[in-house]
Symmetry: C2
Subunit: 501 residues, 2 copies
Amino acid sequence: MEAKLQELKKRLIEVNDLHASAALLYWDQSTYMPSGGAEARGRQLSTLSEIAHQKFTDDAIGKLLDDLRPYEESLPYDSDEASLIRVARRDYEHAVKMPASFVAEFSSHISLSYNAWTRARPDNDFASVLPYLEKTLELSRRKADFFPGYAHIADPLIADSDYGMEVASIRELFRGLREQLVPLVHQITDQPPADDSCLQQHYPVDQQIAFGLDVIKRLGYDFERGRQDMTHHPFMTKFSLGDVRITTRFKEDDLREALFSTIHESGHAMYEQGIRMDFEGTPIARGATSGVHESQSRLWENLVGRSRGFWQFFYPKLQATFPQQLGDVSLDAFYRAINKVERSLIRTDADEVTYNLHVIMRFDFELDLLEGRLAVRDLPDAWRERFTSDIGITPTDDRDGVLQDMHWYSDAIGGQFQGYTLGNIMSAQLMDAAVKANPAIPSEIQSGEFATLHGWLKENLYQHGAKFTASELMERVTGGALSTEPYVRYLRSKYGELYQF
Amino acid sequence: MEAKLQELKKRLIEVNDLHASAALLYWDQSTYMPSGGAEARGRQLSTLSEIAHQKFTDDAIGKLLDDLRPYEESLPYDSDEASLIRVARRDYEHAVKMPASFVAEFSSHISLSYNAWTRARPDNDFASVLPYLEKTLELSRRKADFFPGYAHIADPLIADSDYGMEVASIRELFRGLREQLVPLVHQITDQPPADDSCLQQHYPVDQQIAFGLDVIKRLGYDFERGRQDMTHHPFMTKFSLGDVRITTRFKEDDLREALFSTIHESGHAMYEQGIRMDFEGTPIARGATSGVHESQSRLWENLVGRSRGFWQFFYPKLQATFPQQLGDVSLDAFYRAINKVERSLIRTDADEVTYNLHVIMRFDFELDLLEGRLAVRDLPDAWRERFTSDIGITPTDDRDGVLQDMHWYSDAIGGQFQGYTLGNIMSAQLMDAAVKANPAIPSEIQSGEFATLHGWLKENLYQHGAKFTASELMERVTGGALSTEPYVRYLRSKYGELYQF
């Protein structure tokens, strides 16, 4: 059995190395590649993915997984070996259930669809993507049907990124959250808006970047095992547990852009850097789910990085970096500015309070579309209606409405958005549990000390990689299920103080 | 046949994509990778090479090459299709003739040997590498024996990098060259040395790099299909014909380091950038041989970049960039400084005149070792003796003697050095032919115009990639064989003027 497990690991690491190489090709494409490299780079990325797919779906891996089943069952569920075999089997079954011809059809359709979207968005032309989106919906349904036995047609699509979560429970969670958020948004936005003009001055880019790097170094991002570069869209990527990189972007006239994207991506990266090094190269050497990943980017970005205590420590340093811009701005005014709540059109620019309403409506639309209760051609109208009722303003065009996110134009309809809000929900549960275990954390944050919080997260969450599902992790950490209560309490307390209600 | 050729191309491009990905992993390792990534990166590089080797040595490729032989023979030798099949077959036979077990033994020995050398060189400890080097010699002989039918045991090793060249002809060429160079070196170095102190001032790195980039942009290096980064050892690397990158290094107290390495690597890169784009991904989309490649780096670095005409154009710009350092230094003094000839110990720092003597002695030692006329343990003494007689000074230790180059400690003994001097020889033949065809080239260089020279090289050399061997290329371009006459004439004329003889 030991020999079979070694053989399985060897094959899985080979597949991992191909994916890691592809990740580096993608990183280079986004950071340093000259434009002339684009055409061959696309081909090289396909070559690596195809070989990785062939090698992973090799019958020999299926056979090893079958042979190892009794061994797995003889081990505790949470042992490293059983977890490795279990997660590898889950990935394997996912990879072999879809026929290669379908994968090819899906991917060539998506490439057309994405191209159409890049033209349609600036032109505000939903009609031109409509046929693509209709085809995507049909393909998404077919994709789900390769995984029969689901309770809801979206379940297999959700399992792609949030394995273990299902429509039934997510819908319940999100409904409860929405019921709390809609009145909260109205309560806040009926008041005069916060003044964020102090953030919209000229901030030289080099100092912005240096300040952000100093912040995440203190949070615990390990620069011996990572680095930051500039890209058009910020992201985190991993080539091994010893090399977990982030990217950021900046606006010279808005201090928020680089700073909070840097903290956000460092949250993702610290999660990956915290995984046990002896998992390197195996399928458990990754974050558990997209929701759990997002819980870490949002915990560090918002619960830590947008907190008053955090800025009690960092604001004097920020003022020293930008004396002309912030010398006369009080900590309180700065804190209000970075936590400005407003009715706005774009999800990725939205504040903490409105953000989840943007997500939940997209999640609901995915279900409506998949269930056939909403036709693709009616999506723009449905979008305007729901947006008006939830957020309180009406998008004037599709560019900043249904065309704003690339997700549905570059992947399936279904499973694209729930992770963002699941992450927010979990971030508050995890922070609660961390503070309960270590009541000194809030005062440590005020002193620029993050080792206790980081250590607790590493011990309870990061080190396990993908051994457990999101629900299993929450159960282990909080002793209970996912709950929106800590998150709503966090928002009410923070914004109640800011907006005096 | 068309279908078989397409199938062959498809398989060859897949192998190419794996090698190109490995090249990117290596580039990243040398430029931006954090230290924590090293361990996994080594494993990933092995994974990619192994898969590339497996895919390339697949029997299916051998079968396709056999099936395509009549088709190839029906086509003109210099047609793209016949050349592609011919070069692919040559590579294939090279790859399949060595058993995998030997390749593994060789590579694991080399990895130990290289590690031993990295410690031995600073410690000046030849004794500690002696057993490794003896084993390397034995493995080099065994490697040659996988390619029976050679005239000289070094021939198969030379064919690795300089296909088409053999000991018999190289030895003859080098002997003639050495007979000319030894007295030339003595004639020059008996005179008072040139004053190069103007180059050894403080030169801020950013301005050095910017100046170098401006130079190679004018030479014709295409930044849409390339870029320059910093590394410990400068190199050129290619991920596709649309992405050919170079690296450089700098010394803040020596202007030569960055400038001439930038021009040198841009010469390699312009060669690759000039290959016909429709060869992309195939085995002919590369430089012909290591000698031909070196002819281009040296042509641009020395025949152009160390010429008086070149600096007639660039020196005023260099003075404007570094007015404090060079404002009072005349063009003539600068030109003498960058062409200083001296008896020195290190090959890579040697001037144009002495350089080939460093190379030729290494080439001769490789033959002596392989033929058994010299024992590895006697190499340090032989080195000192030959060095004294050829260059006129005696190395005081092995650190700057037999331990200076990594080649024999990181690869076979045999075939490692001839390319450097073959390149110098060819660079002068090619320059002669270019000027004969376009007599305006020297005056264009004085005006900072390089399009005619670059265009001629592209037309006659670059575009063909690896379709022809070095001898075939020289025959096509100059109508004759390799000859040292133009190179010796070039040195005599340039240094005769500089040293008045």
